[in-house]
């Protein structure tokens, strides 16, 4: 048999083998197993959407191992780790990503931004600050980085830097951040007030009003500054302006306002003002204040009558408690015992109640905060209106 017959059979086989080898190599290199990959990817996404983060992490980990080039998968995985509170794993992942050679500049800055968020979550604020400052200097993801920087300075209570960066953010994005900046000035004014630097505090309040002319907190602080300086007439003006700016803060404003009314002896004006609030505001605070006013001016009977008539219109546990306290002295014997039980009960009922709630995240608080401890929103915590609350 001639060698040529062998060649006729073998050469096509070699040709086909070369063909398949080349195709296989090409598929490996260009990631044409996209369909296989993306099915895994969508499975992971599905788990994520169903809040099954454990399974999602498993799938994404496999995916990241499978194809080491997918930066996006790594980023998603790091994000997941951080959200689950496994910050150290997120940090390691993002550090690895940043240090990887051959990563495009855009991807590297994304990874840096994520790393900064990891540091923030881990409480390594100085590292996060340095990282975000670098990003701002590089002008990469500057708005996000600036937003994080503002959050860091708020946390560190470095209000000057917070104001500075918030203004830069404003200039960059065109969004209006002035209500937040006004709050920063109010924080500065509050600090100055606590150190007894009254004129400095007034300067800061002036700046706050320039940012937000109807800033309730600035009005309230102005009133407090005047009251502390003994200028009660001016304090009354400021507190009344505060109510005008945002009537929701009436429970906060009324106690110092009533004090200033009393100091200046303007009880007529107080009654007029409270009556005016009563018409526009359906909480119990103005009712209680008016009851006290009538008590002192027209005697106990007038006070109780006013309170009972108001309680029919706006039922309130706090009003009921005031009524019990007022009628306590007039009752003798067994009824008095029952009243005591009732009073204890209402007190217990009020003790467990959150009086304030964040309008943005629903965080409930017993005392008023200007910044929500949960979502860090400013001026979002408001008195709760209900039978057992305001």
């Amino acid at each position: 048999m001639s060698i040529l017959y062998v060649l006729v059979l073998l050469v096509p086989a070699a040709f086909a083998s070369g063909w398949f080898a080349a195709r296989r190599a090409a598929v490996h290199r260009s990631g044409m197993r996209v369909s296989e990959l993306s099915s895994d990817y969508f499975r992971g996404l599905n788990y994520l959407l169903n809040e099954e983060q454990d399974k999602a992490i498993e799938v994404f980990l496999k995916l990241a191992e499978y194809n080491r080039d997918t930066v996006e998968t790594h980023l998603a995985l790091g994000n997941l780790f951080r959200r689950r509170g496994e910050v150290d794993r997120a940090i390691r992942l993002h550090q690895h990503l940043v240090s990887r050679p051959g990563l495009s500049e855009a991807m590297k800055t994304v990874a840096l931004l994520e790393l900064g968020e990891d540091y923030m979550r881990a409480g390594l604020l100085d590292r996060a600050e340095a990282l975000f400052s670098d990003l701002v200097a590089m002008n990469a993801h500057a708005p996000s980085a600036l937003r994080h920087l503002v959050a860091i300075y708020q946390h560190e209570r470095d209000w000057h830097k917070a104001i500075d960066h918030a203004r830069r953010l404003e200039a960059m994005t065109g969004d209006d951040e002035s209500p937040m900046i006004a709050q920063f000035y109010c924080e500065l004014a509050e600090q100055a007030r606590q150190h007894g630097a009254r004129s400095e505090a007034r300067d800061y309040l002036h700046q706050a009003f320039e940012c937000q002319p109807d800033c309730v907190r600035a009005f309230m602080l102005t009133g407090r500054l005047h009251a502390e300086a003994g200028e009660h007439a001016e304090a009354v003006e400021a507190y009344e302006a505060a109510v005008g700016a945002d009537i929701a803060f009436v429970p906060e404003i009324l106690p110092p306002l009533l004090n200033s009314y009393a100091r200046t002896g303007q009880m007529e004006r107080a009654e007029h003002f409270l009556r005016d609030i009563l018409a526009r505001y359906n909480g119990i605070s103005p009712v209680l204040a008016l009851t006290k006013l009538y008590n002192q001016r027209d005697g106990e009977r007038a006070g109780i009558e006013f309170l009972t008539s108001q309680l029919r219109q706006r039922p309130s546990v706090r009003g009921l408690m005031a009524l019990i306290d007022a009628t306590m002295d007039k009752i003798e014997g067994e009824a008095r015992e029952n009243f005591l039980i009732l009073r204890d009960l209402t007190r217990k009922l009020l003790e467990g109640q959150a009086m304030y709630r964040c309008s943005r995240c629903g965080f409930g608080a017993k005392a008023h905060h200007w910044q929500c401890p949960s979502c860090k929103g400013w001026s979002t915590i408001r008195p709760i209106h209900g039978v057992a609350n305001e």
């Binding site: 073998l10 050469v11 040709f15 086909a16 080898a21 080349a22 195709r23």
Partner: protein, 85 residues
């Protein structure tokens, strides 16, 4: 899996060496312009290698052509000029 492939490869190498030793006689080809004389085994091996390389080259050319066509279709306005629709 990998071990089996290696074993089969070794088997083929041994078979090739044995067949090459048994057919050590030279063979000559007349390629019109010149004549080559080589052992029979080397002739078969050369033919196989050339066939394998040709197959690979064909596959690669076909794929890169298709790839370029897909790219052109999916990224029409990569430059300034829009692609013809």
């Amino acid at each position: 899996m990998r071990l089996i492939a290696l074993l089969i490869l070794a088997l083929f190498i041994v078979a090739g060496v044995v067949v090459g030793a048994l057919n050590a006689g030279p063979v000559s080809y007349d390629l019109a312009f010149f004549q080559v004389t080589m052992p029979k085994g080397a002739g078969v091996l050369l033919a196989l290698v050339i066939g394998w390389l040709l197959g690979g080259l064909t596959a690669w050319l076909g794929m890169s052509l298709r790839h370029r066509r897909v790219l052109r279709r999916t990224r029409p306005s990569n430059g300034k000029t829009p692609a013809r629709a």
